[in-house]
Each structure stands twice: as C-alpha cells, then as structure tokens.
Symmetry: C2
C-alpha cells in the first residue's frame, strides 16, 4: 500500500470533511422539506456531470470532497419527507450512527471471535423478533434481503421433508408443489426457479377484491396438485402484499397446512413490523403457527437497507 | 413517529458526537499499532458488560454514546495493523467515507430512478473489472458475497444449457455433474445443495502439493461422470484457494471445458485482485476464457465488506 492510504492524519482529516458534507447535505438538507428530494438529471447528462472515468492516477482531496458533494446532490434523498415509496423511507439519526460504526469496524458475523459484540446483539434482536411473532424459542439469521429469506424458507422446507435431497438433488424427488397467492412477491417464483423446483410448480392461489388469499381456493389448488401427481410441501402466506398491502388470513391458512402436513411460511417482509403496533397486530393473528417468517425491519422501522430477518420456529430444523 | 426521531437538531448533534467517537476509537486508535486490536471478553462477561436487554423505553443520548464507545471497545478492529486474517484487513479512509455516504442516502440499486448516481457508478466499475479480466463486453452485478456469486454462476450455467429447467425444475433434467478442486471453497457444495443439484453431484478433482487442480484429473473425472450416465455442465477453477491461496492452471482447464462444451467459471473471490498487479497477474493467465468470474474487491483492495462482483462474458446469457 502506498500513500495516501497510510497517511493517517490526512485520511482522518478527509473523513472529517466528508462527514461534514454528509451531515449538511444528506442529513440536514436531505430531510428538509424545503430542499429538493433529488437534483434530477437524465443518464447521459449525469454521466458527463459526474465524470466517472476510472483513471490510474489519484485526485487531490478537494476534488474528492467535491465528488462527495455531487454524489449526494444528484442522489435521491430517501430520508426526505417528500420521498414516497410504499416500502421504505425516513432517516433515523441513531440508526445511521450505528451503521457508520458498523462500517468503520468492518467485521463479519461468521464467528464470535471476529465480531463478539455484533454476534451477541444479533442473538438478542432475533430473540426479540421471535418473541413478537409469539415464539418462546427458535432460530434465525439476518439475510441480504427478503427474497433470500423467502428462498431460505423454501429450501429449509424441502430439506426438512426430503433430507436426502441435499445430497441427491431435486432430480430424485417427486414433482414438488408450492402455494402462494397471486398477489405475492415475485421472489417466490424467482426462488422456485433458482432452487431447481421450477416456476411451473408454483401454484398461484386466487385472492379476493382486497388482495387476500382465499383459503378455499388454496384447499382446491392443493387437491388439484395432488390429483395431478405432484407433492405439495410448502405454503407461503403474505403479510403486506407489494401492490395492495393485503394481509392473508393466517389462521385459516394454518389450519389447511396442518391438515395436509405442509410447511407454513409467512412472508411478512413488509407487514411484519405491524407486530409492534397494539392497534394493527391483529392483522397478523395466527403468525405464531408459522414454521418460518421473513421480516424486513428496514421497511417500516426506519432501519437502513438491508435489514432482513429469517426466523424459524423449530430449532431442530437444519 | 414520535420524538426524538423528529427532533432533527438533537439527532444531528447525536450523529456528530457518535462520529467523533468513531473517529477517535475505531479509526485513530483502531489503526494504531500501540492500541489493542480488541478488548477481549468471553461471551458471558461481555453479555453483562453490554447490558443488551431490549427495553420498551428509550435511553438518554449520553447513555447511547457510551454504548457506541463500548461497541467499538469490545469489537475487533479489522483495520488494525495486527489484525491478521487471510482474506481481508486494512482501513481505507476514502472507502469508509464512501460507505458512510451510501448509508446516509440509503437507496437501493433496483432502478435508475431511485439511485441515479450509484447505478451509473456500478456500470463503470463493472466495466472496469471486466476490462481487467480481459473482456471488451459482458455483464455483471454486485452480490451479497462470493458464495452467492458462485451460486449465480452455477445457476446461469444450468439455465443456459437447459432453459426449460427454469420452468420445469431440475426434476426433468438428466443427473447433472459439476467439477471443482478438492481445495475449492465450500460454497460450491452449499450452492449445489441449495440449487437442487445435490452435493453428490459435485465432483472434487485432485490437486497437487501446492493445492492446484490437476488438469489430467479433471479430464478423468469428466470421463468417469459421463460413464456413470451423468451430464457434466460446469467447471469451477479457483484463483486463491481458502487454505493455501493456490491458483488453478486456468489455460489447461479452459482447454478441457472447450473440448467438452462445459461452462467455465472462475472463483477469483480472493485472488481476482491480483489482476491489478503487473507482477502477479500472470497467475490468472487464461481467465479471459472464462464464461463467468466471481471477484471480491473487499478481500485485497481494502474496500469494505461486502463488495462481491459476479461477471459474465456473454451479454446474451440470461
């Protein structure tokens, strides 16, 4: 490593100045309703303005700080009161402080030895999320996004039901069938393709006019799949569908899963945080009967992207 | 949202003080050879020291700042000159400034509309990485880790060879066979399980005393798999094996892949950054013949965790 990477004083000075820009432009102006959400430019113009060519030589600190300012100026300030997105928004100063410290420490969660504090924190936070779901024990892990959480659920359900498929692959299994509503997230289809289950084997169950899965339709789809010689193994209910924000009726779906011996997963990526609301948590009644839950605190709890928890009820499932 | 989330002045003040702690403790002391890499505690003791109980009430700013100090104190400072890890280390002040700004903006990369600056930057950086690999065109994406990059490679190879398996799943395919060295990363096995290919279908090829794959052994394994009725489709060579840091002989492996019509993936998660070294890039001679490459700039380029690129040579592959 050459200079200026090792000029620690200059490096710290740079960090200090970059932080001041971040504070002024991204935090203060970025949350000020009188400022712009974004200084919008079309791709061609922005490419020129930013001058993104990667050169072999370095640039002086002043130029780099100017670049920091430009990055913020032309980016969307998602913490702005007029940034509208159905799934996330807002800036929490405390959460941001935590994230900056995490970045500075740059650890990985693989073992206690490399991240003692964060490993203990993860344990406590996951236990709290499980408690809110209604479980007194269980397991969990933070994932790089809700899509991956949903894939983990499908995969765990498959390995739990057919442990030998881990070694042998899906080729030796009967044709699997999984069920989710028409309004569910596209990651269920993507996951079925990725896991070698196949999108043809995702049965999309009908919904009512509010976007909620109709339990009778689920029952019919399961019967139909069985009649066609497929092996139902997994049902995904959604709490907070992407378009309408609908909450599937978890209790009735749990009954059906129980009767047929199917893995019951709840994709509560968006809606899970309603569990913290005394007024709205009834929307998730029955979630405690799930085998697994996907829940993204980054959506409604103002935590930064990505914060996605995959929760498991049964600790013995591997 | 209630106070103090909306008390912007207090929030900014908190951020300012947290940044000062970060700068003093994680950055300055964290890279000072005279300071400790970590104030080590066993889990039981650390749990008590940190007092991690999640309460319903809030805590005053002073207490939160004390907690920031404790988090840093008991964490491992991975930028410390005496932090030894075979895969990553070091703190680059400029990289950290970039990461802090990214966290403050809290955007997602899904569309130009939400992240105009970052989408253009990604385009330029991926093009540069491909250029270093030796390609004049192609595609790529940043992934949440090298394991996922390797899984994407396997999956793309499978869908490219058997496009119908995306819809139908792996159940209708012949028994697949993939090849990687005995010294390769465990994500290849994990990925085969996850994708429904099965770990039994991962053929581990013998290595020499330096940990490099022996091309003649690869040829033999391919013949053996074919004789057993399996369908070879994918070979993964490693540049920088986990234990010995070995670089597989890419040219000879590429010849074999070409002869048998197999997808040639290079897991250069660790070793890819040697492409920037005039002295060492010969170790990766032949990488330009790969169909896909996994490369983690966070390992040897002092970028923060996770920065993992998955690169594709052919833009028409989906």
């Amino acid at each position: 490593l050459e200079q200026p990477g090792l000029d620690r004083a200059a490096g710290e000075q740079f960090l200090r100045e970059a932080f001041q820009i971040l504070l002024d432009e991204a935090v203060r102006k970025g949350t000020d309703v009188n400022e712009k959400v974004c200084d919008w430019k079309e791709p061609g113009e922005l490419r020129e303005l930013l001058d993104l060519e990667l050169r072999s030589g370095g640039e002086p600190p002043e130029r780099l700080l100017e670049r920091c300012r430009d990055v913020i100026r032309y980016s969307v300030k998602t913490g702005h009161p007029r940034f509208f997105n159905q799934l996330f928004s807002g800036l929490d100063h405390h959460a941001l402080a935590g994230r900056m410290i995490t970045e500075a420490l740059n650890t990985s969660q693989y073992t206690y030895e490399i991240a003692p504090v964060f490993v203990l924190m993860e344990e406590v936070v996951l236990a709290k999320l499980r408690e809110l779901v209604g479980w007194s024990s269980g397991d969990g892990i933070f994932c790089p996004g809700g899509s991956i959480s949903n894939m983990y659920a499908m995969n765990v359900a498959r390995f739990h039901r057919f442990p030998e498929s881990r070694r042998e692959g899906s080729g030796t299994l009967p044709r699997l069938a999984l069920f989710t509503s028409r309004e569910s997230h596209y990651s269920l289809q993507k996951g079925a393709a990725f896991l070698g289950i196949g999108t043809d084997n995702v049965h999309l169950v009908g919904t009512d006019e509010r976007g909620k899965m109709i339990p009778e339709e689920l029952e019919k789809e399961i019967q139909r799949a069985k009649a066609e010689g497929a092996e139902p193994f997994f049902v995904c209910a959604t709490c907070g569908t992407t378009v309408l924000g609908a909450f599937d009726p978890l209790g009735s779906i749990a009954d059906i899963c129980q009767r047929h011996g199917l893995w019951f997963h709840v994709d509560a990526a968006w809606g899970g945080s309603a569990l913290l609301s005394a007024k709205h948590r009834h929307l998730l009644a029955g979630i405690e009967r799930a085998d697994s839950v996907a829940w993204n605190p980054h959506k409604m709890l103002t935590v930064g992207l990505q914060c996605s928890a995959f929760l498991l009820r049964d600790t013995s499932v591997r």
